[in-house]
Symmetry: C2
Subunit: 202 residues, 2 copies
C-alpha cells in the first residue's frame, strides 16, 4: 500500500463509515487466513489495513464533530462515534491475531482445527485451466451469491492480491482464498477443478 498522504479517503460520513466496516471485516478474514496458512505477507496487510482504518476513523471523527449543531444531533453523532469505536475494536482484535503470525509465535494445532472446524471456514481454492471460472471477472461470477464463498485474497504466482475488485479477472493457476461454509467451499473447489461446469442460479 502507498503512503497514507496519497491515499484517498471517502469524502462523506456515510462512505467513510461503509469503508470502515468493510475494512474491519476484511481484516478479520485476512487475519484468520494468515494464521491458517502461516502467511506473513497477509498478516502485514492486516496491519497496514489497521493503519488505514485509524486514518478513516480520524476523518470520521472530524466530519462528525463538525456536523454537530444541536443537542439532539450531538446524541446522534455520538452514536456514530460509538459504532466507529466498536468497529475499531474489532479491527484491533484482527491485528492482534495477525501479529502472532508476524512474531512467529509457535501456534497450537488446535488453532488451525478451530478455524477449519467453525461454521464459516477459510479455504484455499486452486483454479485449473479447465474451470469455467477462467477468464471471467469476479463481478460476472458473483461467487458470493452463486457459491456462498466470499473471496478475500488471490495468490497469482508470487504475488498476493488482497480484496480483489469486481473487475478482477481469474487466470488459470490462481489460488483463491475464500470464506464460506464447508459445503460452499467444496462446491467452489469442484468448479475450480473443472469438475462442475454450471454454476449457481444460471
Amino acid at each position: 500500500m502507498e503512503e497514507w498522504d496519497e491515499i484517498e479517503v471517502p469524502r462523506n460520513v456515510k462512505d467513510i463509515f461503509v469503508e470502515m466496516k468493510n475494512t474491519a471485516e476484511l481484516m478479520v478474514d485476512l487475519a484468520y487466513s494468515s494464521i491458517l496458512f502461516n502467511e506473513e505477507e497477509m498478516a502485514e496487510e492486516v496491519l497496514e489495513l489497521e493503519e488505514y482504518l485509524d486514518l478513516l476513523n480520524y476523518h470520521l471523527m472530524v466530519h462528525a464533530v463538525l456536523a454537530a449543531r444541536r443537542p439532539k444531533e450531538a446524541e446522534q453523532i455520538t452514536s456514530i462515534l460509538h459504532m466507529a469505536h466498536a468497529i475499531d475494536d474489532m479491527s484491533n482484535a484482527a491485528a492482534d491475531l495477525a501479529k502472532m503470525v508476524i512474531d512467529g509465535v509457535e501456534l497450537h494445532p488446535v488453532i488451525t482445527e478451530a478455524i477449519l472446524g467453525s461454521e464459516e471456514i477459510i479455504g484455499k481454492i486452486f483454479v485449473s485451466a479447465e474451470s469455467i471460472l477462467v477468464g471471467k471477472t469476479l463481478e460476472e461470477l458473483d461467487l458470493a451469491a452463486n457459491t456462498g464463498v466470499w473471496i478475500v485474497a488471490v495468490r497469482r504466482g508470487k504475488r498476493w492480491i488482497f480484496d480483489p475488485d469486481g473487475d478482477f479477472k481469474i487466470f488459470p493457476g490462481d489460488i483463491l482464498i475464500g470464506r464460506g461454509t464447508n459445503t460452499s467451499i467444496d462446491y467452489l473447489k469442484e468448479i475450480a477443478r473443472g469438475n462442475i461446469k454450471v454454476m449457481g442460479n444460471e
Copy 2:
C-alpha cells in the same frame, strides 16, 4: 437462555474454541441486526451470548493451563489464550453495539445507511406460503451455499429464534434475518416470495 450452571459447555479445547469463534461471529451479526431493526430482544440475546462466551473462555483457560507441561507446549498454549482473547475482544465490541439499542440511544441515520451500504449487509426476508422454502429444513436448503445468505435469526409470530439449527423447518409467514451481499439477499427474497421456484445448484 437458561441459567449458566445448566448450560453444557463443550468438553475439549478444540470444541470450546470452535464454539467461541461461532458465538462471536453470531454476536456481530446479531448486533448489527439489532441496530438495523431496532430490536431490543435481539440486542439482549447478544448480551446473553457475551456471558456464555465469557464462560467458554473461562473453561478454555482452565483446560489450556492444565494441558501445559513443557516450555514448547506453554508457548503453543499461550497462542490459544491469545486467540481466545482476540475473539473475546470482538464479542465485546459486538456487545457494545447491542448496548446502544438497549440503552435506547438516538441513532444517526447514517448508521443504518452504513449497515445497508457495506459489502455484506443484513436483510429481512418474508417467507410466503408459495415459496419452495416452506416445509424444508435449513439443512436441506443449505441457504449459505445455495444463495449466499447466512441465516442468523428467524422471527415466527411474536417469537425470535436465534441461530436456528439445521433441523429448523421453515413455515409460511416466517421472517428470516440473513447476512449476505445485496445480490444474494435479493435472490433469496425472490425465492421467499415464491417468484423463483428452483434454487442454486439443483
